[in-house]
Symmetry: C2
Subunit: 407 residues, 2 copies
């Protein structure tokens, strides 16, 4: 058994795989241009990001673009995600490949850069990370609709796909995968870094350089935009679905009592790794807040308080579970929340003297391209034989190479 050390992006990653170095691919040299592609559970479209990787480990985003699904496709996808048969899955594999290839065609029309390879997530139809007894055998499993063979054939490009399975084969949850992208793109920075993503839920990736850059943990820290978006939708009667630039929150004052009440949520006492979602910080939670507080507080004050809830969830998680293990030099913010100026301003205020707050875009990773770029990074790792599974994030027994390849 030997450890192999590969150098990417000034980031050295230790790995171990059956004691043998496994690099299979001879066709791919540098610069390497990988198109990362992602379609999420929201089912609203495919994000693409073409990343150029250089031999010295540096990278640059050549472009990123969205391929939105039309209403017809969204409806069919929702239906699929609510349950389907083996025949529907056989067809969905081909169908998603056709949609992904239509996206590639659109991207190619808009940009001239040569693409070497596609790294595509596919559309999750099932994900069972906890062992389920099935005919006496405890099993986990995951299913992303996308035929790599079809996509390769239709685009004429090699395709890397099925990124989640192998981590689950070594006891991991097959998620989250994006922390590897954070490591790839931010691991080369001096000092220790937290990558924060403020989507519906807020989550962080903690990267420490000791002695080599490494993801030491990755977990959900509390609500991101879910509650604020619900409020924006409510007070505009559905006209606006979010508080653009944080303007509503900026015009209000936070209610201490409400904030304290919200922070009593037992989620914040759970020791990481942990994850949460809509069931805890979604519409139902919002409705109960609204019912109790909408007569006592102005919409602005309510928004301000919910924004501070997000800020406090992030900051207190850092104070409880990250900073005790060593200082953090910077927190890099991505996701929709990175565009909420008021959120950034208050995060800076709240964590002043503890760490810098920076926007992901400053480091070559536009907030909205982060996920698709992460899949490009996963593709690079696959081609170079680098295990991209991160046990600290997924709970796997060991880091393994993620993905399968259709030439």
């Amino acid at each position: 058994m030997v450890y192999i050390i590969l150098d990417i992006s000034g980031v050295e990653i230790n790995f171990l795989r059956h004691g043998v170095k496994t690099t299979f691919f001879k066709r791919f040299g540098f610069p390497l241009r990988i198109l990362g592609m992602m379609s999420g559970t929201s089912g609203d479209g495919i994000d693409g990001a073409l990343v150029q990787f250089e031999k010295d480990g540096s990278f640059s985003l050549l472009w990123h673009q969205e391929f939105p699904f039309d209403a017809n496709i969204r409806t069919r996808l929702k239906k699929l995600m609510n349950g389907c048969s083996e025949d529907e899955i056989a067809l969905a594999n081909s169908w998603m490949a056709l949609l992904y290839s239509a996206a590639v065609e659109k991207f190619r029309k808009a940009h001239v850069d040569k693409i070497d390879c596609i790294a595509a997530h596919g559309q999750t139809l099932a994900h069972i990370p906890q062992k389920r007894k099935w005919g006496g055998v405890p099993l986990t499993g995951t299913l992303q609709a996308l035929s790599g063979s079809w996509l390769a054939e239709k685009t004429g490009l090699p395709v890397i796909y099925d990124f989640r399975s192998r981590d689950m084969a070594v006891g991991g949850q097959g998620a989250p995968l994006v922390p590897f992208g954070d490591l790839r793109f931010f691991g080369g920075l001096p000092g220790d870094t937290v990558a924060l993503n403020v989507g519906g839920i807020a989550n962080i990736t903690v990267i420490r350089r000791l002695p080599k850059p490494k993801v030491v943990s990755a977990f959900d820290v509390g609500p991101g935009n879910l509650l604020m978006d619900a409020l924006a939708t409510k007070i505009s009667s559905g006209k606006n679905c979010f508080d653009r630039d944080g303007k509503i929150a900026a015009a209000g004052k936070t209610c201490r009592q409400l904030l304290e009440e919200l922070m009593e949520d037992p989620f914040f006492e759970l020791v990481p790794p942990k994850s949460t979602g809509r069931d805890r910080f979604g519409q139902r939670r919002f409705e109960s807040i609204w019912k109790k507080w909408n007569r006592k507080l102005s919409p602005q004050d309510l928004m301000s308080s919910l924004l501070n809830f997000t800020v406090e969830g992030i900051a207190s998680s850092l104070e409880k579970y990250v900073l005790p293990n060593g200082k953090i030099d910077r927190m890099i913010v991505a996701g929709g929340g990175a565009k909420n100026y008021e959120l950034i301003r208050r995060l800076k205020m709240r964590l002043r003297g503890k760490m810098q707050i920076r926007i992901s875009d400053e480091f070559g990773v536009p907030a909205s391209a982060r996920e698709a770029m992460a899949f490009a990074a996963l593709g690079e790792a696959f081609l170079r034989g680098i295990p991209a599974g991160i046990p600290a994030a997924t709970g796997a027994k060991q880091p393994v190479i993620l993905g399968a390849f259709a030439p």
Copy 2:
């Protein structure tokens, strides 16, 4: 657009793929030992065959072995094949990988030979070769349960899998795939060859050397053992499920009238490519024959007539659809029928002067290892960047590389 000619087994294969030679793999040299693995729709187990491929194109079967499923597994598999949900498929992918890896473990215990790579079919849960309109989009698709990533992780060996999808992406039926194995293993012989497989149904692969060995057609020619097996089961009240060595048939005399009646089946008038199955030559057909003839003929005479039906289906198909296009030097017989001496004897008699009748085993391909060996050949082709899809067999628009790769 350029044609690329690669030499395997003295067989040269023309192919075209986006005008570019695509060989991705640098790790694999010669000799190359590939474990072909197959589990069929009967759901009774996994066949394995370790084939060693040499640089000069020669090959040898190192061993072949079966991994039978126990009753519990067979029951669950039958249930799965009768319909399942997305969650069950996610788990079935992992489950089949565990079963395949258990088979590999058993094989490794019995044989010391180093395995370089696995080429595995998986378990078909859905196969939709005819375009089906689905939300307005006409689609085909196929689904073999087997996570390549899981199998690679559990065995520590690279895995090639998902062999059927890509042929379907270019309009093919994704089946049959075994003709490529016939081409690989018999294409190096001098002259023109028909590979005959007598399973439940009988099918042939026609290989002509003009100017390079090529599969010119592959199709079902009529019943194989289905009707004879049904009769063996009936007359032994379930004790025997087939006519061992063809002894019952050898003791009988064929009834001309019955044979003529059977040969009136319109299937024999269909121009190839064509396929058939249990619906035409299965239990229901047998019952109607039995009802009409069991008082008029002895069991031996009935068996003899059914055997001649199989022989006549094969011979007349050759006479109608193969021999008019040029002579055939030999027919190589595989499948359960290859062990039926009486079948072989009557085939020889019926086709005397037209072609030699030989048994697959004589050419290094034991009849019972033929399918698993074909998957080993498909694995070799994948690693060498050789398109193994055969349009003459599947109806695809062009030959494409088949398979995906988990390192």
